[in-house]
């Protein structure tokens, strides 16, 4: 870990069981369509495409801010706005995607938008495919660190933490099971930086 000042990004590299599980599924195959909601970066592109897969990239949080403004949860229950956002961020066909790297973006969605997004994710994912998502394990935080996740290798993440952001909602295990209730199975891994890595199988 390297820390220079409170406003400087904190960069860590740590193992990720969730990532390892995710890649265990896609490693033995090729030509899969993998959706990354964390915005584009060289490392993720290189790792995914080197495995022979096609990468789809969406900068989910940027689209969220563009659609709903910087006051994140304002208007997130407006059905018209939700529909517009889904068309902007998740405009994919049914069963089109073979795996989704969601990272931590779901924490910033208010209940109505979150339900719509998870339903859409379930719909665009091919049956038996996997989604990797992160949630803070402490469900009583006022703000959470803002992360950027980069794939170091198939079982390690390069995590950059800079600033903080107010989450729309936080979850305990039961809340996560309910959130991914439509999925066939949900698996949790707790990390040292108090994140829950969640693998959900569609």
């Amino acid at each position: 870990m390297a820390r220079s000042s409170p406003n400087e990004p904190i960069v860590t590299t740590r193992p990720s069981r969730g990532l390892d599980e995710f890649f265990a599924y896609i490693r033995g195959q090729s030509g899969l369509k993998i959706l990354d909601l964390g915005g584009v970066n060289q490392q993720n592109v290189t790792v995914i495409t080197n495995l022979g897969h096609r990468l789809y990239s969406e900068d989910f949080l940027r689209l969220l801010t563009e659609t709903f403004g910087s006051d994140d949860t304002a208007d997130q229950s407006n059905p018209g706005q939700i529909d517009y956002f889904l068309r902007q961020a998740l405009d994919y066909g049914e069963d089109q995607i073979d795996g989704v790297l969601v990272w931590d973006v779901l924490e910033y969605l208010s209940p109505a938008l979150l339900t719509a997004v998870v339903d859409r994710l379930h719909s665009i994912m091919r049956p038996k495919s996997y989604l990797l998502s992160f949630f803070h394990s402490d469900d009583k935080l006022d703000s959470v660190p803002r992360y950027t996740f980069r794939i170091q290798d198939l079982a390690q993440l390069h995590v950059t933490q800079q600033g903080s952001r107010r989450p729309a909602q936080l979850f305990n295990n039961r809340g996560l099971e309910k959130l991914f209730g439509r999925f066939e199975s949900v698996k949790f891994f707790l990390t040292r930086d108090r994140l829950r890595e969640v693998i959900a199988k569609s």
């Binding site: 584009v40 970066n41 592109v45 990468l55 789809y56 990239s57």
Partner: protein, 193 residues
């Protein structure tokens, strides 16, 4: 009568072989300072094979709507709508460039904005502050932090069939080698070394 007005006109100076300067016309196109091509005379020459190091430029005050086929490197810093093909050359979208077009090029460097699908046979480079919305097919991709990309990335290995090489020929029999033992009615040993 008929010549009265002519008589009133001041006499013209007679200067043989020197044409009078043309009056400025309101429809005369303003000369564009920015070159749109480095080709001699600005003409597209299909026989020109490129590789001469020329770069055609679409300046930032220029808007082009239509199809562009380039046989030299192309730098677009203006607005472009339609399609671009520079199959054997490099296409650069400058920081002021905004392209709404399908792109096919040997190499693409994006510093501005691209809306459209991109096929870059060798590589594409998306620099910081560039924005690309569309699907990419390329052999190699470089993305700087701060670039915005929305779409898919498909890495395609260069087709070995397109690389220039000689078609496989039967190995010539060297005069110094002993003659192979003939095998009557045996097929040619294709695919064997």
């Amino acid at each position: 009568m008929w010549n009265k007005r002519r008589d009133d006109e001041p006499p013209r100076p007679v200067v043989p072989n020197i044409p009078a300067p043309a009056a400025p016309s309101p429809v005369e196109p303003k000369k564009e300072a920015t070159p749109v091509s480095s080709m001699p005379g600005g003409r597209f020459e299909p026989e020109h094979r490129g590789g001469g190091g020329g770069v055609a430029t679409i300046g930032k005050a220029v808007k082009v709507v239509g199809q562009i086929f380039s046989k030299e490197d192309l730098y677009v810093d203006g607005d472009l709508e339609g399609s671009v093909e520079a199959l054997e050359h490099k296409l650069t979208i400058g920081p002021n460039g905004t392209v709404h077009a399908g792109i096919k090029a040997r190499e693409v460097l994006a510093l501005g904005t691209i809306h459209g699908n991109v096929e870059a046979a060798e590589k594409i480079e998306i620099r910081k502050d560039a924005k690309l919305v569309g699907d990419i097919r390329t052999a190699r991709i470089i993305i700087e932090d701060g670039a915005y990309f929305k779409g898919s990335i498909d890495i395609v290995k260069p087709d070995p069939g397109k690389t220039p090489h000689k078609a496989p020929q039967p190995a010539p029999v060297a005069a110094t080698q002993p003659a192979p033992v003939p095998v009557p009615s045996a097929p040619a040993p294709e695919g064997k070394r």
